[in-house]
Symmetry: C2
Subunit: 316 residues, 2 copies
């Protein structure tokens, strides 16, 4: 059992650079451990200064390659960089995608780098709770930059992206879905677009389509206009330009007050996700033993409508 003083010891060790203590803390987050309360209490005073970069895009666009290139670039500038690879596609197996991450183990002996895959395994609040908690732990451990890589462009990714200070949306030619997906919601979350695999056929068309869509999007005076970076991350092309835009966005956030605003939104989401997870827990109970099951049976048989059932539940 992890009490408050043991949690404080672990957090202090992680802050001192002990990779095993840090790994232990992230595992507690990943498993939705009951001891998280102590951990979160212990990290609270130290979090809030890291720069959080979200990277999202469909499978196969090269997210890990872009992440790896950013990692090298910021590491060269003496940043301590953590990478959190979040897999929201697997609520059941908890099988995070480790394949591409292996090559990142080049950095295994570098204490300024921490790389971790995370699934929402067992976490009652799902990634909506687990991802911000993991960011908070890495932030408190002293990382200057935290790259959060998510698979896909579904709602879960949009939620995870909303945690970042800067969100990169990565697309690639020949994926069939790049522009379709762009239409369907990523325009709103992207601070920077990366057209990766720019040496492949169709890259120009993807650039053009994105430019066209951005030109149509209405943006107010002083608003951030997402740049589109053409890159070939495997060969390192476009990464300098990407870093320039990342730094420019970070400065813009500070000047526009967006940095504090995003931190506030992040905390808001985190607190309400925890409160909702708690309510889910109370609602859930064991199947067959809860009031919810009785009500669900009446709804399934057409005797009750779902709103009246929810009202009865809310009176619990």
């Amino acid at each position: 059992m992890l009490d408050d003083s043991r949690a404080e010891t672990l957090v202090a060790a992680a802050r001192g650079g002990d990779a095993r203590s840090l790994a232990r803390l992230v595992s507690l987050v990943e498993n939705g451990s009951a001891e998280l309360r102590s951990v979160m209490r212990a990290v609270a005073p130290y979090a809030g200064s890291a720069r959080v970069v979200g990277l999202t895009g469909s499978p196969g666009v090269g997210k890990s390659t872009v992440t790896g290139a950013l990692l090298r670039a910021y590491r060269a500038a003496e940043f301590r960089v953590a990478v959190l690879a979040v897999d929201p596609t697997s609520p059941f197996t908890g099988g995070a995608l480790l394949g591409d991450r292996i090559r990142m183990q080049d950095h295994a002996t570098d204490h300024g780098v921490y790389i971790r895959s995370m699934a929402s395994r067992g976490h009652l609040g799902g990634l909506a709770v687990a991802a911000p908690q993991a960011i908070r732990v890495l932030d408190a451990a002293g990382f200057d930059m935290i790259c959060v890589e998510t698979v896909g462009v579904g709602q879960a990714e949009v939620e995870v992206a909303s945690l970042a200070d800067t969100t990169l949306v990565i697309v690639a030619p020949g994926m069939g879905d790049s522009v379709q997906a762009a239409k369907a919601g990523i325009l709103e979350i992207a601070d920077i677009f990366v057209v990766n695999k720019s040496d492949r056929p169709g890259a120009q068309e993807v650039m053009r389509d994105l430019r066209g869509m951005l030109a149509m999007a209405a943006r107010g005076e002083g608003a951030w206009r997402p740049p589109i970076v053409s890159a070939s991350a495997t060969g390192g092309e476009g990464i300098d330009e990407l870093v320039t835009h990342l730094d420019r966005h970070w400065s813009w956030l500070a000047e526009s007050g967006g940095r504090d605003r995003r931190r506030l939104i992040r905390a808001r989401e985190e607190v309400s996700a925890i409160a909702i997870a708690e309510m889910r827990r109370r609602l859930g109970g064991l199947p067959g033993q809860s009031r919810l099951d009785e009500l669900a049976a009446q709804v399934a048989s057409g005797k009750l409508d779902p709103y009246s059932a929810a009202d009865e539940l809310a009176a619990f």
Copy 2:
């Protein structure tokens, strides 16, 4: 304003085959209208008999083509068939993907067919509430089969798939992600796999990889073993076999008690999603005016940990 008696009139008209009344009802669901209570009360006695088929897969695998082929096959057998194309990728714009749907308008004059795209636009509970409600409305309107098509393989799609009696997971060669995605969670939700575009290079490898993964998955005595159907939906190949497996799964559900169980799970999810949406509404308030905002500010500044903040909220 839609009161109970007006809702009953609309539902009666939709049951009588009036497409405009049905469209009105689905729009009320999509917009998360305050009048949904009346609608849900009016449909409750009539829902519960339709067969719900979920179709999911990454963008570009040909979900709409498979849906169209199933629609023709079941229509030929005199089923009344509704198609609900759900787009969970766009919580912001509400932009459902209509492109591929246009060719389905071949059926525009057929009263035994209803096709509708739906986004979670404005719906507080999101698709977790809107999708089951739309299914309930279509079910009550007398459709024998409701095909629910979702984009992607993220958590939202898994949730939508959990609403179906039978879930088809569609993959295609050359998408880069088919097997990666399969590993990461779709194995658990698939009742039937469709390898579409089977005439393309790589189709055999996708079949082999899926077979390999299924062979490794542990399944109990009497459990359903998901078949893998090779199809080229554009040319209609494999559709007869797919229909055979769909019918076989439907029979198996009846024999195993799975049909009632899935209906109960669906009602359970629906009721708890409504209850949670209500809690979210209470939590939310207007930004800057709620207790949540005050607490979030303390969390963002490190003065409070998120669990203690959630505890304070829960005491509201």
